[in-house]
Symmetry: C2
Subunit: 399 residues, 2 copies
């Protein structure tokens, strides 16, 4: 592997590992950014288009949220990075003054256009690039059609970093190709090698404008192939990334996903924060903190809310669906222990009614509840790692 | 006019007129209900289906809301009055512990089915009963088809009062026929007389179950015909209603609406609270407090929010539309003086972006802002009535 010759010091960022579990790779970290320090493991909530869907920044804080993300792909199309920069950057624009992450835009461009990313990343689609908006991929970058206004846009590693610089989040992602499920090993290998070159170009572009305000993560690719994952992980370790992200296709089953991560994490930089891109059900949190994952992100807390679904501690399948007729006369709240209005002040019967009546307030209530529940999960997971009781905590959450 | 022989005392309610304007009929009142006392003139926000659209009770309070209403028509169809009674009544069900009003259901049944009421009440439609869900009207009541599940439902004065009793709001409305615009005087007169008989039946049914927890308003009908309005007003004065509402068709122009109200108010009971049903733009508030209106209600604060529109003090036409391209780079908030996050913490540029990106948070922000603005209007109107400065306040709001 060719060594990079770029030096980056990230003077305003740090990641300190405070405690390691004796039986697993689980760990407690302190991730410092210019917008605050968070304890890890932690959950990063998706504010895709500079808004966590129907949850205001006040409500995020009330739900004890530490960190959120926004998507470069969506924001470059509308309202555009230049406008956000002119408005003072993403933090000011959306009125979130805590730590924030942006992705590179690659994931959405490659796997999805504007669509359902979860199926792709989890290998539930086997159509390869079934993406009419993606026009071409080359060494230089990729060309796609904007879902917003139909314009043709070229996204390169340099441009992805420029956009992220203008957006102004704390934590950035290198540009990479996110290969779909069921592509063969040869394609995956060539793609992973190109992502490595794109990673070096991302770092070079980042370095050119580095003013200490941001830090960049490298992304481990390699599909479901453990030797490719290992190679890609070693690359990220070798380069001056601040953190490491696990990206790309993770296989078609829980076991395959586990194996992919397990084949990556031993080879990544042991003292850098590790982010798991796009994954974050409750069961995932328990499985993957044990492999050393420090942060998770997933759209499901707010997406499930829009479908009437609430995350709950200690229920079969992690969630309940408030549309279910059995909640019609259920006078109990979602979770009084969360001590926020959404979870404490409304009965399940009322939320059931709001859903049947197509009232937007249902989404607002459920989204805030789901976020608060995930934050409670992460607090309890951190406590359990400190006290060595992760196994018993998992039995409390997942019955 | 035949005198009613029902006596109702409303021991837990009162309306005290604290101050009368020297030049107009404007007045300051104190309206006491079992769920609190509000100062009038005041604005009643629509929680149609037991939810003010995308605004939580906390957010209503933050916006300094004193009183809300819910619609009998919608709630009788879903989730049903029996369920709400079983859940402890509307206040508990929707977690609003302040004063609340319900209408009788008649307005929606007659003029609308599930549709745009504003056009009908303001005479902007001249189709008469263009309402496929209304099946028949007779002395007994009316029969209509539920928009929710297609069931045929008979609504009578007795049933309307039973439903409102089960819903459990503080202030109720008699059942009445709400005639559409452009029906002739003969039909309007016969309808108004039937509404009078329905009013007596409403009172009799109310009396049967009266436990002091609720109070009922009579409704002045009579279309655009001043002699009919006068007759109907005298009727409500003669009967033991707690308050008086101005209902029905109000004409096709601002002048006609003014004349209809002006021909009603001199004949209603002078010491009872007067509610103006379904009307509540800023200009309406200024015009009609001068005729002695004490409370207004209208869906527009939340409806306009869903269309990207914000009520503003001192702008031409009362509102601005944040979808307008001129707000794309406008870094100013909606109204810092309101001191709530919605009006203070987000730039117009951000709200413009949220609207373009179809983000629900835009609705949440604008709805809370519009409600807070209307509450600010009402506070300032009350101060101006006390200090005799209504004219100059109107010039500040309506430029």
């Amino acid at each position: 592997m060719q060594h990079g010759d770029i030096v980056l010091t990230y003077p305003n960022f740090s990641f300190d590992i405070k405690h390691c579990d004796s039986k697993t790779q689980a760990r407690i970290g302190e991730l410092k950014t210019p917008h605050g320090t968070i304890e890890t493991p932690n959950y990063i909530f998706c504010g895709t288009k500079a808004s966590v869907k129907n949850v205001s920044p006040c409500q995020l804080k009330e739900a004890r949220t530490d960190i959120i993300l926004a998507n470069t792909y969506h924001l470059m199309l509308q309202p555009g990075a230049d406008l956000i920069e002119k408005m003072g950057g993403l933090h000011k624009f959306m009125n979130w003054n805590g730590p924030m992450l942006t992705d590179s835009g690659g994931f959405q461009v490659f796997s999805l256009g504007e669509g359902t990313m979860a199926n792709e990343i989890k290998g539930k689609s086997n159509k390869g690039y079934d993406n009419k908006s993606l026009l071409s991929i080359s060494e230089e970058g990729c060309v796609f059609k904007s879902y917003f206004d139909g314009k043709t846009i070229k996204l390169t590693p340099e441009y992805a970093m420029e956009i992220q610089r203008k957006l102004g989040a704390d934590l950035l992602m290198q540009f990479d190709e996110c290969t779909p499920y069921h592509v063969d090993k040869e394609y995956t290998a060539r793609s992973m090698e190109m992502s490595i070159r794109w990673g070096d170009r991302s770092l070079a572009e980042f370095k050119r404008h580095d003013n200490g305000a941001q830090a960049v993560y490298g992304i481990v690719q390699g599909g479901v192939y453990s030797d490719l994952r290992q190679y890609s992980a070693e690359y990220t370790k070798d380069r001056p990334f601040f953190g490491t992200a696990i990206g790309g296709c993770l296989g078609g089953s829980d076991q395959e996903m586990y194996d992919v991560v397990a084949s990556s994490t031993p080879h990544i930089h042991p003292s850098r924060p590790v982010h798991f891109l796009g994954i974050g059900q409750i069961k995932d949190v328990f499985r993957f903190v044990r492999l050393g994952i420090d942060t998770f992100d997933c759209v499901i807390p707010t997406r499930l809310a829009r479908h009437g679904t609430a995350f709950m501690k200690g229920v079969r399948g992690e969630t309940i669906n408030l549309k279910n007729a059995k909640y019609r006369e259920d006078n109990t709240p979602l979770d009084e222990s969360l001590d926020i209005p959404a979870s404490r002040d409304f009965s399940k019967a009322y939320i059931h009614h709001l859903l049947k009546a197509n009232e937007l307030l249902a989404t607002q209530i459920l989204a805030q509840h789901n976020i608060a529940t995930m934050n409670k999960l992460m607090r309890e997971v951190r406590e359990a790692i400190k006290s060595g009781t992760l196994d018993s905590l998992e039995r409390e959450w997942l019955v």
